[in-house]
Amino acid sequence: MAKLPSNKTIKDLAELLGETGLTEIEIETGDMRIKVARQGTAVSAVVPAAAPVAAAPEPALTPETVPDTAPADHPGGVKSPMVGTAYLAPEPGAGNFVKVGDTVNEGQTILIIEAMKTMNPIGAPKSGKVTQILISNEQPVEFDEVLMIIE
């Protein structure tokens, strides 16, 4: 019977994996073949255990409540171009710019974001049907937050 490679050889290879950042090493020499692998060498981020949860409004989705496509990844997502306060209606008491089910044209104002006392009308990035409105009136929104879905 041919000899097995020594543990030392494998340990050396294991060390080499770490050093090189490889996920697998396979060696074949004569009648011997050695393969070593380590999964997930991608280092996962350390989350300070006691870090307070950021109060920034981010939907805390549990697996049960995940919609078919998370809003952030939805191709029809309208993302906020700025941080500020979102208004769904042109003025208090007036009707909303759009409601779910409405068909909108590209460029049509769908909401306003106030930042530094300035009202910034936000236009629909494309024509289509409003299938979801993910914010409520006067809600603070972050940059890149998905506001509506237009399909």
Binding site: G21, V43, S44, A45, V46, V47, P48, A51, P52, A54, A55, A56, M82, V83, G84, T85, E114, A115, M116, K117, T118, P140, V141, E142, F143, D144, E145
Partner: protein, 446 residues
């Protein structure tokens, strides 16, 4: 009183401010770009707001975004850290208009000190020593001789319209003044079409020494001694220490008093740094930084004073928690700036930190914004950690620095740690026998 502080910054300085807020029981709001959503300051603040895309111009430098973030979070004050908007007078004006506090000086003081010419004029007015120069153009060799004799040689003859080293000649004494004067004029004429020259004191081997001041709105101004920041590469500080080995108590007290008198004259508020070149026992004003500095922990180590806490106190209208008599300097402190850069070429090395293990033990302070698994984004500056060492004296401080560097483990990105390991055995560094050109020579010597 301040109840919620928005930190208009990122990285280790954002963490520094969050820590101070938490220790004062004040809520903190982190703002961040889309590239910084996993940054430590976002993790550790009480709240966080994404204010723009990765580009600093559209996030950390965007005044509307930051003011809007204050509005939606109800932050009643902003701490600007250093860099970014920390010395932007317009930002302070806008915050004032929106009734949001600024943890720093007035817009007016930022404006004055942000303008080289205005700052020098103000320094002269306030009695701060500046680099001596002729009073405008010098027209004849005879006038040049008078000027040179007055300020002492060597002097620099400079083209009034000049720049980039052209039309600039050094006269080491009276003997070669005429030649320097004539050559400079000729070169100036050829290069700029204008032969007007002026004369400035020439500093051969100056050190960079800066005085930390802290002022409240009750007329108190206190200095916290100096920091020696002579070790620079391309005008970037690399290692800072305090006290400087070239100042004694008397010299320290004298320049300190000049600075505090000036701050009282100015009516300055908050912390600030008056930067000087120092040569042959004399100080020459460079500029004043109207903000917290990267190297402030060096002063915190030897004074035991928490500068960020004082900033917040002053912003709340409180008095400084100490008087000049309360300030005593104890031991020696050194800060090493750990950048994610190759330690020889200084090429930035963004990437993911596979392993991060910080040194610990007595006399070691780490101000760091990174952790194992953190991906350093390529969009911002490369400072990732500051290692601050405190010990009884400079020799002990160097020994402690040496052992701390030996414990430091950062894998996955290159860092400037090896630079400090190279620096430590150098005899001139060990003797603190350096000037502002020394480090570049050391690096070239390699």
């Amino acid at each position: 009183m301040v109840s919620k502080v928005l930190i208009a910054n990122r990285g280790e300085i954002a963490l520094r401010v969050i820590r101070a807020c938490r220790e004062l029981g004040i809520k903190s709001v982190a703002v961040h770009s889309a590239a910084d959503d996993k940054a430590m300051h976002v993790r550790l603040a009480d709240e966080s707001v994404c204010i723009g895309p990765a580009s600093a111009a559209k996030s950390y430098l965007s005044i509307p975004a930051i003011v809007a973030a204050c509005e939606i979070t109800g932050a009643d004050a902003v701490h600007p850290g250093y860099g970014f908007l920390s010395e932007n007078a317009k930002f302070v004006d806008i915050l004032d208009e929106h009734n949001i506090g600024f943890i720093g000086p007035t817009a007016e003081h930022i404006r004055i000190m942000g303008d080289k010419i205005a700052a020098k004029a103000k320094a002269i007015e306030l009695g701060i020593p500046v680099v001596p120069g002729s009073d405008g153009e010098v027209k004849t060799v005879e006038d040049a001789l008078v000027v040179g004799r007055t300020m002492g040689f060597p002097v620099l003859v400079k083209a009034a319209s000049g720049g980039g080293g052209r039309g600039m000649k050094i006269a080491t004494g009276e003997d070669d003044l005429a030649e320097a004067f004539t050559t400079a004029r000729t070169e100036a004429k050829a290069a700029f079409g204008d032969d007007a020259v002026y004369i400035e004191k020439y500093l051969e081997k100056p050190r960079h020494i800066e005085i930390q001041v802290a002022c409240d709105t009750h007329g108190n101004a206190v200095h916290l001694g100096e920091r020696d920041c002579s070790l620079q590469r391309r005008h970037q500080k690399v290692l800072e220490e305090a006290p400087s080995t070239v100042l004694d108590d008397k010299a320290r007290a004298a320049i300190g008093k000049i600075c505090t008198d000036a701050m009282k004259g100015l009516g300055y508020r908050g912390v600030g740094t008056v930067e000087f070149l120092y040569e042959n026992g004399a100080f020459y004003f460079i500029e004043m930084n109207t903000r917290l500095q990267v190297e402030h922990p060096v002063t915190e180590a030897i004074t035991g004073i928490d500068l960020v806490r004082e900033q917040i106190r002053v912003a709340q209208g409180e008095m400084l928690s100490f008087t000049q008599d309360d300030v005593t300097l104890s031991g020696h402190a050194i800060e090493c700036r750990i950048n994610a850069e190759n330690a020889e070429t200084f090429t930035p090395s963004p990437g993911t930190i596979q392993t991060y293990h910080a040194p610990g033990g007595l006399g070691v302070r780490m101000d760091s914004a990174v952790y194992s698994g953190y991906a350093i984004p390529p969009h911002y500056d490369s400072l990732i950690s500051k290692l601050i060492i405190h010990a009884d004296d400079r020799d002990a401080c160097l020994m402690r620095l040496n052992r701390a560097l030996g414990e430091f483990a950062i894998d996955g990105v290159e860092t400037t740690i090896p630079l400090f390991e190279r620096l430590l055995p150098n005899k001139e560094f060990q003797a603190a026998d350096y000037d502002i050109h020394w480090l570049e020579k050391f690096l070239g010597m390699k």
